[in-house]
């Protein structure tokens, strides 16, 4: 319990330190930043436009988002957008994790599948998101069965899944193949088949590899959602909001930071949710000690 409290305090201290560093630089840093040669800026400008005070950023959160009558505060607007993006990222995470696990199972089961699929899986992550986002949107627009029509947010979730499946497939593959030969042979002597071996041995053994992969996948899903919202032009989410608020940065520099805080919060919540999963799977986290 003391350890938990300590961790929370240290975390809060870290945030305060970053804020203090920001304002110290703003107070003492050169107005025009530090230039090397004519053009290369190595330290940022300390103007109000480039670096608003941290307290202004926080203050701005609780002022109305727009000049319209009855507009919600920036905080409320960001909260709503964050929820929207988080929901999409969660869907993308679920799809990505499912696909990643299935791919890992397939590659564990068939050697041929591993040699055939693994290069493509790695290659898939080298394709720039901005290139595939419009493609996904265009292809999606042609999908229609029954009452279901493909919406832009499905495209965003798909792109989130596209990023999220990668760490899961790689991590799960390593985990599923981690049992020692002794263990695998023991299962063989028990006369149990591949599926029983999977459930009794391979899946539990994969947990220590899977947990960091799931966490990475959560972070990837959030990044994927935010970036894809921008590329696809989906309204309502935090990604689009970052762009919109940045446009008003000229007159209202603190406002641009509100959705950035939102994006950070979404990432933290996503990582935290996976952390809960970690707690549930704790019994399987015991590392390989009996050798």
């Amino acid at each position: 319990m003391v350890g938990r409290l300590r961790a929370v305090l240290l975390g809060a201290l870290g945030v305060l330190l970053v804020a203090a560093l920001w304002d110290l630089y703003k107070a003492f840093g050169p107005e025009q930043g530090v230039l090397v040669g004519e053009r290369t800026l190595i330290l940022p400008r300390a103007t109000d436009l480039a670096m608003p005070h941290t307290w202004e950023m926080v203050q701005r959160l609780f002022e109305p988002a727009t000049g319209l009558e009855g507009a919600p505060t920036a905080f409320e607007a960001v909260l709503e957008a964050s929820g929207f993006t988080l929901a999409i990222a969660a869907r993308g995470w679920l799809v990505g994790v499912t696909v990643g696990l299935l791919l890992a199972l397939l590659m564990t089961r068939f050697k041929l599948a591993e040699s055939g699929l693994l290069p493509w899986i790695v290659l898939s992550q080298t394709v720039p998101l901005i290139a595939i986002a419009p493609l996904v949107r265009r292809w999606g627009a042609q999908i229609e069965f029954g009452s279901f029509t493909w919406e832009n947010q499905h495209s965003v979730a798909l792109i989130a899944a596209y990023l999220a499946f990668f760490p899961v497939s790689i991590g799960a593959l390593r985990g599923l193949k981690s049992p020692a030969r002794t263990h695998v042979e023991l299962m063989h002597t028990y006369g149990v088949g591949w599926w029983r071996t999977l459930l009794t041995l391979r899946l539990p053994a994969s947990v220590p590899f899977l947990l960091p992969a799931l966490r990475l996948a959560a972070a990837s899903a959030v990044i994927g959602s935010v970036v894809a919202e921008v590329s696809i032009g989906l309204r309502g989410g935090i990604g689009r909001m970052v762009v919109e608020y940045a446009q008003s940065a000229g007159g209202d520099p603190a406002k641009a930071w509100a959705p950035i805080f939102g994006a950070v919060a979404v990432g933290l919540v996503a990582a935290g949710a996976v952390g809960l999963l970690t707690v549930a799977l704790r019994p399987f986290r015991l590392t390989e000690t009996s050798r």
């Binding site: 002597t189 028990y190 041995l201 399987f284 986290r285 009996s290």
Partner: protein, 287 residues
């Protein structure tokens, strides 16, 4: 070719006649890797009677582990035949006729000691109540009754190995296959484990095929010691351990380690291992 052992009755006691626990006849095992051919076993024949303790000993590469893996149906012979209680090795494996223990304990780290022991029972559909009773019984047999709820990482190497032996005994097999189970243990723990194994074999009257590279260990535990040599792996000779001061494999106590007969047998095994008579002045060192 070296003589092989098929003596019909080398079992230490007068046991009721029944199918031999293991019958290996003319087995070859050749590993082919690309163009290389490695003859791991060449024309090996050996039998283990029910309740008998037989050790395989030899330098590394003599195929002793390969032979055990063939009996366990973890590998198939290139030529020859192996039967376990009169069945094919595959059938014997499916019928759970043997329990097996390796050099590594191979316990599942996320399962408690008790549920590691219960694993084979669980996989074969034994009910929870019966499983618990059996694991309690086995924990007592290997002297770990207070450790059922511990996880393997909380146990020492010797204790883990005892759990592995308990697991191998879970389904009351009539045959135990052991591949250097004490190989990773220190000498003191090792001798204690040997004493325990003698007791366990006496109480369960299971036959044992035991792979080791320690001469005193083989002699202390066995009714017969099968001496093997490498390239190609084959049986050099079979040394019978027993007689005055040693008794059968079930009678061994710490006194046996000091018996004259024990030293003679150790010397005999060593002689076969080195392929030539060892001169008498060399004495017998304990390992």
């Amino acid at each position: 070719m070296t003589p092989t052992d098929t003596e019909p009755d080398t079992a230490p006691e007068q046991r009721a006649p029944q199918a031999a626990a293991i019958e290996v006849v003319g087995v070859d095992r050749v590993f082919r890797r690309r163009r290389d051919e490695v003859v791991a076993l060449s024309d090996v024949s050996v039998s283990v009677a029910a309740g008998e303790f037989v050790s395989l000993i030899g330098p590394s590469g003599c195929g002793k582990s390969t032979l055990l893996r063939l009996v366990a149906d973890l590998d198939s012979p290139t030529a020859g035949a192996i039967s376990v209680f009169g069945k094919t090795t595959r059938q014997a494996r499916r019928d759970q006729d043997y329990g097996i223990a390796f050099q590594q304990a191979g316990l599942l780290p996320w399962r408690t000691v008790a549920s590691n022991i219960e694993l084979p029972l669980k996989l074969h559909g034994v009910g929870a109540g019966e499983r618990r009773a059996r694991s309690a019984e086995l924990l007592e047999l290997v002297g770990l009754q207070d450790f059922g709820r511990h996880h393997p990482d909380q146990l020492s190497g010797g204790m883990q190995q005892r759990v592995a032996i308990a697991r191998a005994l879970a389904e009351s097999p009539r045959l135990l296959l052991m591949d250097e189970p004490f190989g990773a243990l220190d000498e003191i723990t090792r001798e204690r484990m040997q004493n325990e194994l003698v007791r366990i074999c006496r109480e369960t009257s299971a036959a044992v095929l035991f792979v080791t590279h320690s001469i005193p260990e083989a002699v202390f535990l066995s009714d017969r010691v099968v001496v093997m040599s490498p390239r190609p792996g084959r049986i050099v000779d079979v040394v019978t351990a027993g007689g005055a001061g040693m008794g059968t494999s079930h009678d061994r106590t710490d006194e046996v380690r000091d018996a004259a007969e024990f030293f003679h047998t150790v010397a005999a095994v060593r002689e076969h291992l080195h392929g030539a008579p060892v001169d008498g002045t060399r004495g017998v060192e304990n390992r």
